[in-house]
Symmetry: C2
Subunit: 338 residues, 2 copies
DNA sequence: TGGTTTTGTGCACACGTGTTCACATACAAG
DNA sequence: CTTGTATGTGAACACGTGTGCACAAAACCA
């Protein structure tokens, strides 16, 4: 009776070190030591404990262990809305990279109040760090993390604060290089499809294009703004074409909008690259698909992931290291639309 | 001196309920009560504690609280390699859905040994559940979870085990509907680009196409296999075209491969849909991009996410509920490639 | 044999929380 | 004044783990 009660009660519970200890006829300490590398325990007994533990399906509860003061290995990652393909691609790579480095990402998405509340709630876990990847969040998150002693790494935009490391693609330089190249190819009448307000990259990329043109005594002849989706790129291109302004080059603030623009140009029987050069930004996987073969500015995603994880590991190794801001170099990828 | 030591030591630690209690001049119990809904505490004192807590940046440690026996709210989600766009899209939606339902997904990606090891490690956290989304994992994960009392929900493929809920798109029916429709449109010579071996959906979709043709006394005239990426679709289509077999319809096991196939057809000046119908499967966001406007079979992602979360919540509410397997109906989406 | 070192293990504490229990205070009723 | 009843609140325990400390047993040496 009592036995049955105990069994049914245990059925609901997670197997605990005490259960293994009872089964093996040793103390709970011995079980703990059997799973702690470098701890002092008779080899034979350790093996026996491991065997019984495997049999019972025991795993030390990482959270209870983290109460001891060690790291939880949990890392929160805020990814914004993941509406465009670049964000999804980076998120996927980041998850893989964190896994490989034995950090476990608790992923938060969305925008606005819901996102703010979600991040707030997730801060109640003992996180090793918070990674901001795209999306915009209230600035007071920085203060909250500082008080909770949770290091932050921002990779979508620059967050100027002590204890916040930043990784950032050199947006302006990338656009300058693209513009220079097209000018060198003889293009003169540049149109531009920019990003939405509120994104960190929007003014930077816009500025890069303007600077690249200015150093050749040129300026944009036409301009529209999209929201970084392919649909908005299509609409923006339609708008530019219907305005009647003559263009021979169209620079887009990201690849997805460039794809949309390419479709609009095709619908208008404008040949690319004969009549018009099109250049994107990011070099997402799709850019090299046969349907697009897009000339674009590479936003180095793999390097971004590696850099973020490197900063994270170094931050965990040394909490007082001064915050760093790292800029990543872009690269012009020539395919078939320039 | 002692004061300074204490301060610098505390600087490293997370703010704790005891710290707030000291600052507020109450017991730690009072602080805990101040943050526990429905607990008994003087209203004025509760307000004061909240104020001081906000000032210090205190948040109850969710993990320490979960030791009490309550749920951790952590949910592991295995997402496979996330190589194709469908997987990324579903993962993004699932993350958003879980967040909205106040579950916090610890996301694991990858494949092979690394993935197996990562999932194994993540099981050391006190998870409320494990969601399998795509990808393939050793079958012994089911047994491990059973022993650890972690409920599982599989959505990529059917996992026949007690305590594993399944959500699955009705692959065969979707393909039957697509095939029937094309036959009704007068198509007779069907080619097929299938998925890679090892995926749960591969034989089901293949079977659906065969069944749809068989009921009209037809059979496939040509067939190739890809790996669910656009590139592989392009190569497979090239292969089919170079074989010289005449076709008037090409069914692809997913949208990404259909995109690749469309490019190959364009390169060969084969007009879609005049000379050839092309149908995909999934209806990912890109399918309606102006560049593709792909006719396809909708794999209902939003419904998938809702269903998984519903199953999760019901499982948490009732651990002994018998495992369910839910099939989701597909829908033929007619655009411009049929 | 007696003393000293090595080897192995259990006890007890700490981590941060929620909650039960007992106790103190205040106040109303008899 | 005594008794009974609300109303708050602190002390103590439990959750599952890692580890310092003490202690026992065994091995070694003289």
């Amino acid at each position: 009776m009592k036995q049955a009660d105990e069994n049914s009660a245990k059925r609901r519970r997670r197997v605990t070190a005490q259960d293994v200890a009872d089964a093996a006829g040793v103390s709970r300490s011995a079980v703990s030591r059997a799973f702690t590398k470098g701890a002092y325990l008779d080899a034979e007994k350790r093996e026996n404990i491991h065997k019984i533990a495997a049999d019972l399906g025991y795993k030390p509860n990482a959270l209870a262990a983290s109460l001891q003061g060690s790291r939880s290995q949990l890392v929160a990652m805020f990814v914004g809305e993941m509406r465009n393909e670049y964000d999804k691609e980076v998120a996927a790579k980041m998850i893989a990279g964190l896994n490989a480095a034995h950090h476990w990402p608790v992923v938060i998405g969305g925008s606005g109040d819901a996102a703010r509340e979600a991040v707030d709630r997730v801060l109640s876990y003992p996180l090793d760090a918070l990674i901001l990847r795209s999306g915009s969040l209230d600035a007071d998150i920085v203060e909250k993390c500082a008080k909770l002693n949770i290091p932050m790494i921002s990779s979508g935009r620059l967050l100027e604060a002590p204890n916040v490391d930043n990784v950032c693609c050199n947006n302006a330089d990338g656009m300058i290089a693209a513009t220079r190249y097209l000018v060198g190819q003889g293009r003169r009448k540049f149109g531009y499809i920019g990003g939405p307000e509120g994104y960190f990259s929007t003014p930077q990329r816009r500025h890069g294009v303007a600077a690249g043109l200015a150093e050749n005594g040129l300026a944009l002849v036409a301009e529209e703004a999209g929201d970084y989706t392919a649909d908005s790129g299509y609409r923006a291109a339609e708008q530019l074409l219907s305005s009647g302004v003559a263009m021979d080059a169209l620079i887009c603030a990201n690849d997805a909008m460039a794809f949309g623009a390419l479709s609009a140009l095709a619908d208008h029987d404008i040949s690319v690259p004969d009549d018009m050069s099109v250049i994107g930004f990011d070099d997402i996987a799709m850019a090299k698909w046969p349907a697009f073969r897009l000339t674009t500015v590479r936003n180095p995603m793999d390097l971004l992931v590696d850099t973020v994880i490197d900063l994270l590991d170094r931050r965990l190794a040394n909490a007082t290291r001064p915050a760093e801001t790292i800029f990543l170099a872009t690269e012009l990828i020539l395919r078939e639309t320039h």
